[in-house]
């Protein structure tokens, strides 16, 4: 097994794909972080005006203690993890497309061994992408936020945890889908469209129709966003004083976790999706005729 893990690791380091995708990843993360800080600052300025005094009296905290930039952090992580998703999606579909899969299977004890080795190596890459995303989002936010808006060290640790977990899970989900749809362009377009556009459109439709949004929390994007979003809402609320129930719904929407369950439940739901995608891709790859 160690041999195959090393082989898969070498596959990923001997082409430029890992840094080719890492560049847009960190740019999105950094840009998102910078923007999060700026928007958070604008919000605080707005709510600090005289009109908001009533509100802050009601809540028991002054608006400059509100950590608005947290919402942007969650959004930035959600967007940036689309790149590890693509990286994972190319793991199997790329090999089938370039027909290197033939040599890969000829040099492995079984296809199961190959898939397992890929899973381990791509989990590592998912973690590396996750750490890079967190690092650059944090850098952006720190540059543009006032220090009162930043989470404390426990908050940072929690954010890092969910960012890395969500990045790893997205990579795994990508591997599965790439094995199910072994067409590199097709699977990349489909996944990007789904995670960036399609599910958000569904969410919007549900909102307009007035149907409960909870269903979204069980969909792939809704659940993986719930992982980061719910943590951010918790962190915000822990420093925001008394927040009325109706406001929480809005906060969850801001965090991109509208309709989502708690962070760990969201994580488990997305893990379920990953298991379905990876299991399906695994089963298909195991029996597929390579001609």
């Amino acid at each position: 097994m160690g041999n195959l893990v090393q082989a898969e690791l070498r596959k990923t380091t001997t082409t430029g794909l890992w840094w080719g995708l890492l560049i847009p990843t960190v740019l999105v993360a950094l840009g998102g972080g910078l923007l999060s800080g700026l928007i958070g600052r604008a919000f605080v300025d707005l709510t600090s005006s005289a009109d908001a005094e009533q509100l802050s009296e009601m809540l028991g905290v002054t608006p400059d203690q509100w950590k608005f930039s947290l919402f942007g952090i969650a959004r930035s992580i959600n967007l940036a993890t689309v790149f590890p998703l693509i990286f994972g999606a190319l793991a199997v579909s790329g090999e089938i497309g370039r027909r290197t899969i033939t040599t890969t299977f000829l040099t492995a004890p079984s296809r199961m061994h190959t898939m397992l080795a890929k899973m381990l190596v791509y989990a590592l890459w998912g973690a590396i992408y996750g750490l890079a995303i967190m690092g650059f989002v944090a850098l952006g936010v720190v540059l543009t936020s006032s220090s009162g808006q930043l989470p404390d060290s426990g908050g940072w640790a929690m954010l890092t945890l969910v960012c890395v977990v969500s990045s790893i899970l997205m990579t795994m989900f990508g591997i599965g889908l790439g094995a199910l749809i072994p067409n590199t362009a097709g699977v990349v377009v489909l996944l990007t469209m789904y995670f960036v556009v399609i599910e958000n459109a569904v969410l919007l439709g549900l909102r307009i129709a007035g149907t409960p949004e909870t269903v979204v929390g069980f969909l792939p994007n809704g659940s993986v966003n719930g992982l980061t979003g719910s943590v951010v809402v918790d962190l915000f609320l822990s420093k925001a004083g008394v927040v009325p129930e109706e406001a929480i719904t809005f906060l969850r929407m801001f965090a991109g976790a509208g309709g989502a369950q708690s962070w760990w439940l969201s994580g488990l739901i997305f893990l379920g999706w990953v298991a379905v995608a990876f299991g399906g891709g695994w089963a298909l790859t195991a029996r597929k005729d390579i001609t």
Binding site: A7, R98, L106, P109, R287, I290, T291
Partner: protein
């Protein structure tokens, strides 16, 4: 794990792709110590058979084994069998050396083996170039290098001559023969007998997914008959004289010549002299193996002859 015999055994192998029967009840064995040619026209089922042997395609029925085991039971397959297959790909941006190092790691051989096989196939100077810039022949050499990484006991090559330059073909020929002489097993497919005629000792000839001939190439050669083509002054007289001498396989060709089988030209000329028939031309015809191959395998996708050109109110 496996018996180390170097034996390839294909038994009643059948593969159905939907409604297409690619391979039908195919059986043959390949022994170590010689190069075996796996021959058949395009679409005969060679690639499908080899891919079933290598565990890449699941047979509809029947078995294919190497060293008495199916591919997925070999344990470390890369150390038992090396394969060069059609449509075996490379990542265009990976260098030749890195490509080999990836698979050296998978097989579990040291990285130095990558450089060794590169020099063996004559690609040492191109080691650090991206494979995307390689010619077809260079890619084929790299595929051979990949197959040799695990120093396997069995080598399987699917149409390896495709894309190779004459020098490459000559090299491959010598290499495969010496590889077999070391007591290893070499199975090489081709749609042209002539291409492998000088390389192989044994042949398996298939057509439409079925075995047509399987045995030493030498036996096939012996089956072929020589014919003497002779243009006599009197066809009837020569034919009669030959028949009286016990030669019964005589054919008259459309151009008026006689085709006589089973004897040499000297015999025909002597008979003609005794019968008082002049010989205007005499020639020994070598029915080449390719023709036997063609006869064994013809029929599949037989191309139609172009329709004769017909002119309206022709004056031909």
């Amino acid at each position: 794990m496996h018996d180390g015999s170097g034996l390839i055994a294909v038994q009643n192998l059948t593969k159905q792709f939907g409604s297409v029967t690619a391979v039908q009840n195919l059986s043959f064995t390949v022994s170590p110590g010689s190069v075996t040619g796996f021959l058949g026209p395009n679409g005969a089922g060679k690639t499908t058979t080899l891919r079933m042997l290598l565990g890449l395609v699941t047979p509809t029925s029947g078995t294919a084994t190497i060293n008495g085991r199916q591919f997925h039971q070999l344990g470390q397959p890369g150390r038992v069998v090396g394969a060069v297959l059609e449509a075996q790909g490379f990542h265009p941006r990976r260098t030749a050396r890195n490509h080999l190092r990836v698979y050296a790691a998978a097989i579990g051989v040291p990285d130095t083996q990558a450089d060794q096989v590169l020099s063996l196939v004559g690609l040492a100077t191109a080691a650090d170039r991206a494979v995307g810039g390689f010619s077809l022949g260079m890619k084929q050499r790299l595929a051979v290098a990949t197959a040799l990484l695990g120093d396997p006991q069995v080598l399987v090559l699917d149409e390896p001559a495709n894309g190779l330059d004459p020098e490459g073909i000559a090299w491959l020929r010598t290499f495969l023969q010496s590889y077999a002489r070391m007591g290893r097993t070499v199975l090489i497919s081709s749609h042209l007998l002539a291409e492998v005629e000088q390389t192989v000792d044994q042949v398996v000839i298939i057509s439409r997914g079925q075995t047509m001939y399987y045995g030493p190439l030498e036996h096939l050669r012996q089956q072929q008959q020589r014919r003497v083509l002779v243009q006599p002054s009197d066809v009837g007289a020569l034919a009669t004289a030959l028949r009286e001498g016990g030669v019964l396989t005589i054919e008259q060709l459309v151009d008026g010549r006689l085709a006589v089988s089973g004897v040499d030209s000297k015999h025909v000329a002597d008979v003609a002299l005794r019968a008082g028939v002049s010989v205007y031309g005499i020639q020994e015809e070598q029915v080449d193996l390719e023709r036997i191959f063609f006869q064994l395998t013809s029929g599949q996708y037989a191309g139609q002859a172009p329709a004769p050109y017909q002119q309206q109110g022709g004056w031909a």
